[in-house]
Amino acid sequence: MLDQLISSLTDGLLLGFVYGVAAMGLTLIWGVMSVINLAHGPVIAMGMFGTYLLFTHLGVNPYLAMVPVAGAGLIAGLVIYVIAVHRVINAPHLSSLLATFAVNMIIIGVGTAVFSTSPQNINYSLGSVEVGFLTFPASRLVGAFGAILVTACLYLFLYFTRAGKAIRAVANNRMAAELMGIPSSRVLALSFGLGTMMAAVAGGLIATFFPFTVLSGGPYELKSFVICVLGGLGHPLGALVGGLMLGGLEGLIPTFMPVSWVPVVEFGLFVLVLLVRPSGLFGAK
């Protein structure tokens, strides 16, 4: 029982890091411009396919492939912002929700036409790691390290660069930022780009250990919602904590009840936290 609990928890937490990265992108965008990006899932899937294509057709190591995938994610985000989001940034929430959902449909539509919805797999194994009675694929360990690295980079960027500070300033008070000469539209675009970049990288990491289809981003998008709310919408570090919480829950719950109850608990908790503490469990504002 204890063995099972520990190994289940380890698996869950390792995965939680990667969930955290995916959610971080969503929460960053929300924090800066109060837009819930419904194109988040498809961007995650794009990250998966980007890594897959680079690996399968060009033989690029999947972890190296994440660099160009991140770049492409950034550019994709900028394009999405300029085309679909900028015009509705001050409109009611419904407009930005539906605008990003329209982007979701476009990406999924094109993705389905190009790749079909058949499952794909990156055939790249790092073997398994054994620690005592624990056995888990090395790729998950690398994924967790990758997630920590990405989080650290984001933090260094937000706190120690001019552009990063500008993002925080715009998130904090867009009008004041504009008054200080910060081009807020460009900063919004950059933030959106960074958010989708995180999603694409998360997709790339997930693709190294799970099979995926064009539609695979959807579940991670939903998980990202849960994580953002647990960690407090708009707080990137909260997303990592939320990710770990969700991963931990996914490891913990199956020890005590059938695995199929996991989503009931997850989403039940999600609604409950929204109702009781909309700022998140750690979102002490």
């Binding site: 819930i36 679909a84 539906l98 605008a99 449909m105 476009i106 539509g109 036409a113 919602f225 199929s260």
Partner: protein
């Protein structure tokens, strides 16, 4: 002027009356199937519009009421042997009841938080039903084929279901008009414009919102029962599709939210477009992308939707299109 003398009231109603009547008269299976899909879309979009259009609350997971109501109705029908009519009403009542329960709590949330909560409720409901043995768990339930014999065999049963759906759709449209044009509806509009101000002016916002939520949840429950009876089986994956929920929103937006006519036009327009794209040799593979691009154009450039746009631009039609 009495309600029935207003063109805005009878226009959508007569359209659906004539349309469904024609389908019944012509009595052709393919046509009925298509009309079923369209009428269902109209009914679902219109009931969503009662909440979305009149109070401004964006329910992303409205399909949960279609699923829960459909499941309950189906359960009453196939496991308890209730007649179709009673089962459908039963499904609707359960949806309304659930909406009343969660409404008071969830409707305190504003904007995107409310939208997220409705998504969460839908996913939680789906996961719960997958584990709920009386409803068949993950593999769902089915009607034994002999159940159709009660209605004179499968053919007549399908026609009965269609007729029932047709009537339900008209009831939705009437309800939509009545809510909009009552004192109650005025309060809702005030909530949509500025909820805090409305509260100050004496609108009992929590109660009004919950009542609206209950009304807009009832009809999807009825429609769900009819749909799954026609299908012959029900499974969690089919009953709680988030995608369908968003399609409902798109239909409302396309036609024009906050109007009675809008969801009707939007639903038919969207389904027709989808059908066209799906079967068109050029767009077949890209149907989703093309639909998405059109949605984007509407959101960015015609946020009032088709009916709203016409109302704003053609003076003469303002009285006719509500």
């Amino acid at each position: 002027m009495k309600v029935w003398q207003k063109p805005g009231f009878w226009l959508p109603l007569v359209i659906v009356l004539v349309w469904g009547g024609a389908v019944l008269l012509i009595h052709q299976d393919t046509m009925r199937e298509s009309a079923f899909v369209l009428l269902m879309a109209v009914g679902l979009a219109s009931s969503l519009n009662i909440l979305l259009g009149y109070t401004g609350y964006v329910s992303f997971g409205h399909i949960v009421f279609f699923g829960l109501g459909g499941y309950t109705g189906f359960y009453l029908l196939s496991e308890q042997g209730w007649p179709l009519f009673a089962s459908a009403i039963g499904g609707g009542l359960l949806s309304a009841f659930i909406a009343g329960l969660v409404g008071l709590a969830v409707l305190r949330l504003r904007g995107a938080y409310f939208a997220l909560a409705t998504i969460g409720i839908n996913e939680a409901a789906r996961a719960f039903v997958s584990n709920f043995e009386p409803y068949g768990g993950a593999t769902g339930m089915f009607v034994n084929f002999s159940a159709y014999q009660k209605y004179g065999g499968p053919g007549p049963a399908l026609w009965t279901t269609f007729t029932f759906l047709w009537i339900t759709t008209m009831v939705v449209l009437v309800a939509s008009y009545l809510v909009k044009h009552s004192r109650f509806g005025l309060g809702l509009l005030a909530i949509r414009e500025d909820e805090d101000a409305a509260m100050v002016m004496g609108v009992k916002a929590p109660k009004a919102k919950t009542i609206t939520y209950v009304i807009s949840a009832f009809f999807p429950g009825v429609i769900g029962t009819l749909y799954f009876f026609k299908n012959g089986n029900i499974e969690p994956g089919d009953a709680f599709q988030l995608h369908m929920s968003i399609e409902m929103l798109v239909m409302v937006m396309l036609g024009g939210m906050g109007t009675v006519m809008g969801p009707l036009v939007g639903a038919v327009g969207y389904q027709w477009l989808r059908g066209y794209l799906l079967t068109s040799p050029i767009f077949k593979d890209l149907h989703l992308a093309v639909a998405g691009a059109m949605l984007l154009v509407i959101i960015l450039f015609v946020p009032a939707g088709l009916v709203g746009w016409v109302r704003n631009h053609v003076q003469r039609l303002q009285k006719v299109l509500e």
